[in-house]
Point group: C2
Chain length 607, copies 2
């Protein structure tokens, strides 16, 4: 008898004998699980969470290390847990030795800091028997006199805490004025902080920023915990629609992840979360809605409209975020149901709106958004590229963690591979798969239609289960071949075809061809690691001279930071929500014809 162990969110599966413990299963799957005690259940580092299936009963060591409540919630120590059926196991980021590669950095344009808040240093008149005005009245009078701004207001949370700060600091404080609202009152020596977040479907990237200098004090990332409720957006939308409690839960787990990351970054910077007076969150439209617990039903069916499109301010405490009580979360605008605030942030961060000539920007992912700036006229579209580049639906696919094949080159005589952290190969991540298809094409294994060519010496197995070995069993981390199959090639064709279709329609819409493109900006984690030459070889990207391509890293995160530190940048982002047109590909009459063409590989001579 054989049981299957499915390790999520990295998406590795392995078949093991009954009674195998999860550390061993992970080893066989090539997953690098943390463990410092040699499997005795005493270090507590191999914490995992059982999502489905049966395993052995908890041991005393587990009870000691995890506590009853965690055990009830399914948390276990992998080394103490034996498999007793097919199981699905969630691996938290902290339990993995080589954490998933997270793109935090990006090329940051130099923009001046133009704070959202006006710092108003005031000496409030203390009360006495002859001046019965309330604490807040005296504060607002002082702010009004000092800043020359009237019609001032403040909210319940500030009313609850400002009086204490004023009294403790001998009535000399800084009032942080956001338009006409005092949102925070701090001692005079506190430098206010902001947080920018790129909330991805898979990953969260967060930046803790000094709002006066604009400097990033700390940054960090985490997996999006919603993955436990569904790998892709549609399954999360379906989950959320089942009942309001589930929708609230999907929001809550994100908020909790934010609070944990905030605590972590503040600890690094030796600051308090209470000093965070502003936050900017960007994400695709579904992430935006699930985070805010807005309805998502209409995002799941045509015409796929957002509930909220405009840029928006929401009180952080209403969402459960543990920062300054009066702080706002600012959300950049969503352009359409599948062109969200992260796309706006990417345009801002990569400065695509300022570009001259014909400039295209892509953020490649499960959903790929593309913007085309044609002499100042911007249009965006969304392509359902699917999760193949995340390693899903690929036989040996995996996310970009230790042991993933990230690079494949056809040397002319063989397929040469490189893995992340130079570890023994375990599977293939997105950039590796894309390289592999290009390499197979160059090697003549596949033809323009992506079909395996009969008789090629690299091909193993029989139709329709033919495959090519990228790493033989004796070299891999789990003792089995890592391969790419005919079906894998088909998945990549679907993905790249979808993206190329978007590129083509945006060009057509402007009456241009790809030769007219002055620059193509590739943003995002996948875009950082993708080999442009391979992408051109398989026809994902048009065949342009390499210098016209720029890989900018996490432009969405950079854009979120810009909108955090500069009111001008924030205003530009709000305008982008209106200015950027949206091209619905499904509404184009010859969509299927163009898509079918885009699935093919280009002539090799063209490359």
């Amino acid at each position: 008898m054989i049981y299957e162990v499915d390790f999520e969110p990295i998406g590795r599966r392995v078949a093991v004998k009954p009674g195998t413990d999860l550390v061993e299963a992970a080893r066989q799957a090539g997953v690098a699980l943390s463990s410092d005690c040699g499997g005795r259940g005493t270090c507590g580092r191999c914490r995992v969470r059982l999502m489905a299936g049966n395993v052995s009963a908890p041991t005393k060591n587990e009870l000691r290390k995890l506590g009853e409540r965690s055990l009830r919630e399914g948390w276990r120590l992998a080394c103490q847990t034996q498999v007793e059926s097919d199981v699905k196991v969630h691996l938290p980021l902290e339990s993995m030795r080589g954490a998933q590669r997270l793109q935090l950095g990006g090329i940051e344009p130099q923009v001046p800091v133009e704070p959202i808040h006006q710092a108003v240093v005031v000496h409030v008149k203390p009360p006495d028997l002859f001046d019965a005005r309330s604490d807040m009245t005296r504060l607002l009078h002082a702010v009004q006199e000092e800043a020359g701004v009237d019609h001032l207001g403040f909210d319940l949370a500030l009313g609850r805490c400002a009086a204490e700060t004023m009294r403790q600091d001998d009535w000399r404080v800084v009032a942080w004025l956001r338009d006409h609202e005092v949102t925070a009152v701090t001692p005079v020596d506190v430098v206010p902080l902001g947080v920018a977040v790129d909330l991805g479907t898979t990953k969260i990237a967060m930046y803790l920023v000094n709002l006066i200098s604009g400097e990033t004090l700390a940054s960090g990332g985490a997996m999006n915990p919603q993955i436990s409720y569904g790998e892709d957006l549609m399954s999360r939308i379906a989950y959320s629609m089942e009942d309001p409690a589930r929708a609230a839960e999907l929001s809550l787990v994100v908020v909790q992840a934010f609070n944990r990351l905030i605590a972590e970054l503040c600890a690094k910077a030796k600051r308090s979360p209470r000093d965070i007076i502003e936050m900017v969150v960007v994400g695709n439209t579904a992430m935006h809605h699930l985070f805010l617990n807005l309805p998502v039903e209409q995002l799941g069916r045509a015409p796929y409209v957002a509930v909220v499109g405009e840029s928006w301010d929401v009180k952080a405490r209403e969402l459960g975020l543990g920062i300054a009580p009066g702080a706002y979360v600012h959300l950049l605008p969503n352009i359409a149901g599948f062109v969200g605030a992260d796309h706006v942030a990417m345009i801002l961060g990569a400065e695509i709106h300022k570009a001259k000539g014909n400039v295209m920007g892509l953020d490649i992912g499960t959903n790929t958004e593309i913007v085309f700036n044609h002499n100042g006229q911007m249009t965006s579209c969304s392509c359902a590229s699917g999760p193949a580049f995340e390693g899903a639906h690929i036989r040996d696919g995996m996310r970009a963690t230790t042991g993933a094949i990230e690079r494949v080159i056809w040397t002319g005589s063989e397929l040469a591979i490189t893995t992340i952290d130079d570890a023994p190969p375990v599977g293939i991540c997105g950039s590796g798969i894309l390289d592999a298809v290009a390499a197979l094409y160059r090697a003549g294994v596949i033809n323009q239609a992506g079909r395996f060519q009969a008789g090629h010496p690299l091909i193993r197995g029989e139709r329709p289960n033919q495959y090519v070995v990228l790493a033989p069993a004796e070299r891999t981390g789990h003792g089995r071949d890592v391969v790419i199959t005919q079906r894998d090639v088909g998945e990549i064709q679907l993905a790249k075809g979808a993206i190329r279709t978007g590129i083509e329609f945006l060009l057509r819409h402007a009456g241009l061809t790809y030769h007219d493109l002055d620059q193509v900006i590739i943003a995002g984690a996948f875009g950082t690691f993708v080999d442009v030459e391979s992408a051109i070889t398989i026809g994902l990207l048009p065949s342009l001279p390499p210098e016209r391509y720029v890989q900018v890293g996490n432009a969405a995160g950079v854009g979120a930071k810009l909108a955090l530190i500069s009111r001008r940048q924030r205003a530009i982002a709000a305008d982008l929500g209106h200015q950027v047109g949206y091209l619905e590909l499904m509404a184009q009459p010859d969509f299927t014809t163009v898509f079918a063409e885009a699935m093919l590989l280009p002539e090799l001579e063209q490359v």
Copy 2:
């Protein structure tokens, strides 16, 4: 052995034998407890809550009627519960046959309805593949076009629910615009509701209002449940200061009482609480702060300043109020730490701000606030009149419920009494005590200094425990004399002296004497029932012709209603917060001299 049973919040005490059940104890105390089953524990109507002391174990009938949880919380059936020590018992309003008299009505000035919200009927363009704008963008565009108002916004709660309403109602809805914010979206046939609340230290009065017609659809009252935490403001402030959880609890019990009353009034009017899109709450400054969970420490010590003085809008849901998700609670301004929003509401409701000449307005209570409008110049002060008029600190004092002596007249030969509901006398409520002192004065029992005159035939007992019988044992509800003592007279002198001192200083401040007063407006529950002639006799009120006095009922409740239905009235109230000056009596150099004088009774010839 004898145990004392203390019935709260009505403040009746009775001494009983061990083993007496609480229905019997109530009977002996003259408290009218509900009971339909003759004490068998089957009707469940005599629900009471044990606050302190020991009683018999719960019976099976109690477990059946109340459930385990209620029993754990101290709830019992009075008929099944025997006294085993001194005990303190809370009587909920619903368990009392003659509920405490609550002043809901008031003389309402006719003001035109000028709604806070603009009703904007819109037909929102439905989305399609060629119009990817978000639901809220399409709504706001429609509102902007229809109403000609721009810079429109909406909050998180509305974003969460408006899309569903629009989709269910085929995109034809009413957007309720409050300045620049859409705070509710309803089907076109829904008439929006508002709620006005007068949150008193002891009682809550609530009005459910049709916001289009201004009509009151239902009104009702309840005890302020904070009474369980302290009868007077200072003890609640002290309780609240002990820890933040207690402060939150004091706020929560009020919110829960509001939610219960809202449900009750909505049931009466056959409407849903979700249709309530606006609420106005008035109360004294401490009630205002405890309700909103603002800090109160500074209200408990000089110079007694409020944290929040200006009129204020707070989202109802932030306080836990179960009305429309986007609804606001509007708070009228507080003038000073002891001159609160209920005083502003009284001025508004009794139209004192519009009065010509010299007009004074009083709301007599544990704390008495007085406003003086001297040719348009308004000044207010606060007098610590104490709880004597609520029946506290008075030997046979009680609140104004069934069996309370509410009227005492010296006929020339005897003291004639009247009780509430014409029930057998049980004790004396505020208006009765005031009458009694005037009657004793007229009868020659007390002199100008308030001292019992040796040898008067009505006097019983020996110094210093002398008393006069108002109702002899054979006529009372509990078989004991109801009396008024020398000490009781002293308590009334303190109370009336405090109020008269306020009147005198307000007149002096304007350089006038009481002869210059054109009108004196007496508001509030006590003010409704007080006998003006008696009040003049004892010198609480100045000796003016009767026609210069007006008793207007619950003017604060009326003012709250005006601020609910009229933006003009609301603006006037906000201005009153700035316009009305505050006179701090404690800061007046000859305060003690004036107070000592005011404690005396005026010459009888003067009256």
